[in-house]
């Protein structure tokens, strides 16, 4: 093999290595740029997502809350009759707890601002134990609370202490204890809960509500009688916008 070919070969190898080095460099730069872009995009998405998930704080006082004859509970400033936000919920349903944690404060604020009449409809959707029994005990206990503000405090307490769907929870003793903690003063509350006086009325109410409202699950949130999409109901600022524009 001549010296010349070998030199040419060396030159080619050198050129080849140079090209590879350039490519490596380009790759490194692209990598850095890509990572930077990905970080920026991810941060922007995350920030937006956090805002979509952020709950309101209950700003001031609550609107008057009144327990109705049929078991529903109305929260509205006096004279506010529209728009109506109906909340169909089950104390044992995890998604209802999530709705309460996410958007509950928005509903309280909207009612307090006089921008909505909020109606809670506690029902029992579960047909199997232990969830059915848990739900029935909790909802019938809530019916033992006659004062609206106390009912709402009890309602929040029940969600905060919601048992897992796989265990027996909402025991009578717990339900009485939480009533005390929520400031329930109704006479005979203890006995009302212990004897589960309202189970039959609640069951009847549940069945009737589910069939007349054509509910497919809980939580169902209706705005002026129309189902709100979960992508609205579970996004506090979207919920607020929907209710406010319905009131205009």
């Amino acid at each position: 093999m001549s010296k010349r070919t070998s030199e040419a070969a060396r030159a080619r190898i050198a050129a080849q290595r140079e090209a590879l080095r350039k490519q490596e460099q380009r790759k490194r730069i692209t990598m850095i740029v890509t990572i930077a872009v990905v970080v920026v995009i991810a941060a922007a998405f995350a920030a937006w997502s956090m805002r979509q998930g952020a709950s309101e704080k209950v700003a001031g006082g609550l609107a008057p809350v009144t327990v109705q004859e049929d078991g529903t509970v109305v929260m509205a400033k006096s004279g506010v009759t529209a728009p109506v936000v109906d909340v169909f919920e089950d104390f044992q349903c995890p998604a209802c707890k999530q709705f309460e944690e996410t958007s509950g404060s928005t509903l309280k604020n909207l009612a307090a601002e006089g921008k909505a009449k909020v109606v809670y409809h506690p029902i029992t959707i579960f047909g199997q134990e232990p969830t059915k029994g848990n739900s029935l005990r909790a909802a019938s206990a809530a019916r033992c609370v006659t004062d609206g503000q106390q009912w709402l405090a009890y309602h929040d307490k029940l969600y905060k202490n919601q048992p897992s769907e796989t265990v027996t929870g909402f025991t009578i003793d717990e339900l009485i204890k939480w009533g005390k903690e929520a400031g329930v003063t109704a006479t005979d509350f203890d006995n009302c809960v212990r004897e589960q006086r309202n189970v039959a009325a609640h069951q009847q109410f549940s069945e009737k509500t589910m069939s007349t409202q054509k509910l497919t699950g809980t939580p169902t949130v209706k705005l002026n009688g129309k189902d709100l999409d979960t992508n609205v109901a579970f996004v506090p600022n979207s919920l607020r916008d929907a209710v406010e524009s319905a009131g205009k």
């Binding site: 093999m1 070969a9 060396r10 080619r12 190898i13 080849q16 290595r17 090209a19 590879l20 490519q23 490596e24 380009r26 790759k27 692209t30 990598m31 890509t34 990905v38 995009i41 991810a42 998405f45 995350a46 937006w48 997502s49 956090m50 979509q52 998930g53 349903c93 995890p94 998604a95 999530q98 709705f99 944690e101 996410t102 958007s103 959707i125 897992s164 796989t166 509910l215 497919t216 699950g217 979960t230 992508n231 579970f234 996004v235």
Partner: protein, 189 residues
């Protein structure tokens, strides 16, 4: 002169070796990317639902479910975008494949434990509507198919219509192999 025979030009060697197969990679990339982007986009706007859908699996402690609920849609969209434009294809496909493995495990375990949930893959809070039955078989089949797509892209990351090939790097293994053979030539010289 093995080195001369094996490597005539760098740019030529970096082209995908088999055109037909590189089209398959393009297809696998786009399918996986499309599903990931759609799934992420449908969830990212309602993180409370996304968190609830994660909780419905009853697999992760609450704080972790919170992080996954918020983070997963972002991860899906980013991974999908990288796959779609074909940048760092292999790494993105690995990420996509890991996601699919996680989904398959999650759904299979929900099925095995007898839970009655919606996979929450494309939004929703994971609960089934009244009268609706779980769809575990089809959900698993879909995610398994996507896992196959991801695996294909990991094995053959070089593809058409990708930034990787436009920029001259078609997947890391090829480049490393070339580095390796060059070193070999050095020793021989």
């Amino acid at each position: 002169m093995v080195q001369l025979a094996s490597g005539t030009s760098v740019s030529e060697r970096l082209q995908p070796a088999k055109p037909a197969l590189s089209w398959v990679t393009t297809a696998a990339r786009v399918v996986l990317a499309g599903v990931l982007i759609v799934a992420g986009a449908l969830k990212i706007g309602a993180p409370a639902l996304s968190v609830q859908a994660v909780r419905a699996y009853q697999l992760l402690p609450d704080s972790v479910a919170q992080v996954v609920g918020y983070g997963l849609p972002v991860l899906e969209i980013i991974t999908g975008l990288l796959l779609l434009v074909g940048l760092f294809t292999r790494a993105a496909a690995v990420a996509g494949g890991v996601l699919m493995v996680a989904f398959v495990i999650g759904i299979a375990s929900a099925w095995a434990r007898g839970l009655r949930i919606d996979c929450g893959c494309f939004g929703g809070d994971g609960t089934l509507a009244a009268g609706q039955d779980p769809n575990y078989f089809w959900e698993l089949l879909r995610d398994f198919g996507l896992l196959v797509c991801a695996a294909w892209v990991v094995v053959r990351p070089a593809s058409r219509f990708s930034l990787d090939s436009a920029l001259g790097f078609t997947g890391e293994r090829e480049t490393t192999d070339e580095d390796g053979s060059d070193d070999g030539e050095d020793d021989g010289a």
